[in-house]
């Protein structure tokens, strides 16, 4: 029964990741690229590049979410997948920067243009993710050292 529960949990979280790393960003970018009738135009030369990297890392993050969330609680498997997941999430965030999505440029017709640069914000989030990586490494050591105790507790449950 526990295995089925874990699988369902894995699928649910894959869905959540698909929504937040693929569906919402892709819809947002597609809308921004195609929006018409405004006093300004969206100019993003690298839009194919942005969409490619967001899709690539979004798919990877969503795929690994299944393995992470379907693994048993406090298992070494979960620890390893959680670490990989955080690293992929970092790459996903980084893809916003290196694909050019963090520097948004709008052309204001008959006026000029404005740019909004949020790469500093992405770097701050990367810093927070670094702390999460530390936590996940700690988890792997914890799950390995206390393997017996975790198993005993799991049996009791």
């Amino acid at each position: 029964m526990g295995a089925v529960k874990n699988m369902v949990r894995g699928f649910i979280f894959t869905g959540v990741y698909v929504l937040f790393t693929l569906a919402i960003p892709l819809t947002l970018f597609t809308l921004l690229f195609s929006i018409e009738g405004l006093p300004f135009e969206w100019e993003q030369i690298d839009q194919h590049n942005i969409l490619f990297w967001l899709t690539a890392f979004g798919l990877l993050a969503s795929g690994f979410a299944f393995f992470k969330y379907s693994s048993p609680k406090q298992s070494i498997r979960k620890g390893i997948f959680a670490l990989i997941q955080v690293i992929i999430n970092c790459l996903y965030l980084w893809s916003y920067k290196f694909s050019g999505a963090s520097e948004i440029k709008f052309i204001i017709i008959d006026y000029g243009f404005f740019t909004l640069d949020i790469s500093q914000m992405i770097l701050i989030y990367m810093g927070v993710y670094f702390l999460t990586i530390v936590l996940k490494i700690y988890d792997i050591f914890d799950y390995t050292i206390n393997r017996e105790k975790i198993r005993e507790n799991r049996m009791k449950e």
Binding site: G112, F114, I118, Q120, M121, Y138
Partner: protein
């Protein structure tokens, strides 16, 4: 609960608080950027009161450009800077009377930070020493052309940082006509 799990929980709460703080600052910073751009008057370059002095025989030029910034956002505006490029358009004798554009001015003026909710007035000055005309240009200008013989156009960029530099914003006015001689 095992002691290692308690330590982990504390660490996790710390990360959650950090993430929430960064997210709040990011959202408010993004909103500030939208708020300041929504109203044209928030960033007003006062061309009506701008002064442009040009001496055709010596090519001596100086100007002053007043502008006003209204910080309607949630955070202080930092690293505010006005960057100005001026191009001179003229009919060139060496180019068979074709109109050519040369850059004659290029200057960035850093300005004071603006606390949230405050309005600040600034004046951008361009002195003759900031202009870099080649003296030979005076012989290349077709002075017999139908006026205006000389046209001055500017690219004006206002750049600023919001929320400890998490959002950097730059607004550029392109090819703005500032002066025509005569």
């Amino acid at each position: 609960m095992r002691p290692s799990r308690v330590f982990r929980l504390i660490f996790r709460i710390f990360i959650a608080v950090l993430t929430l703080s960064v997210t709040t600052v990011s959202i408010l910073g993004g909103l500030s950027a939208v708020i300041i751009l929504r109203e044209k008057d928030n960033l007003q370059i006062d061309f009506d009161n701008a002064e442009f002095n040009f001496n055709e025989s010596t090519l001596e030029t100086n100007f002053s450009l007043p502008f006003q910034v209204n910080n309607t956002g949630y955070f202080d505006i930092e690293n505010l800077e006005l960057y100005l490029e001026i191009f001179l358009n003229y009919s060139s004798i060496s180019h068979m009377n074709e109109t050519v554009a040369i850059k004659i001015f290029d200057k960035a003026q850093p300005l004071d930070d603006i606390p949230k909710g405050e309005i600040r007035d600034f004046v951008f000055f361009g002195n003759n020493s900031d202009f870099y005309y080649s003296p030979a240009i005076i012989f290349d200008i077709n002075w017999l052309k139908v006026p205006p013989i000389l046209e001055f156009y500017a690219n004006i960029t206002v750049s600023l940082d919001y929320s400890i530099g998490l959002h950097s914003l730059a607004i550029t006015l392109e090819n703005y006509f500032i002066y025509g001689y005569p």
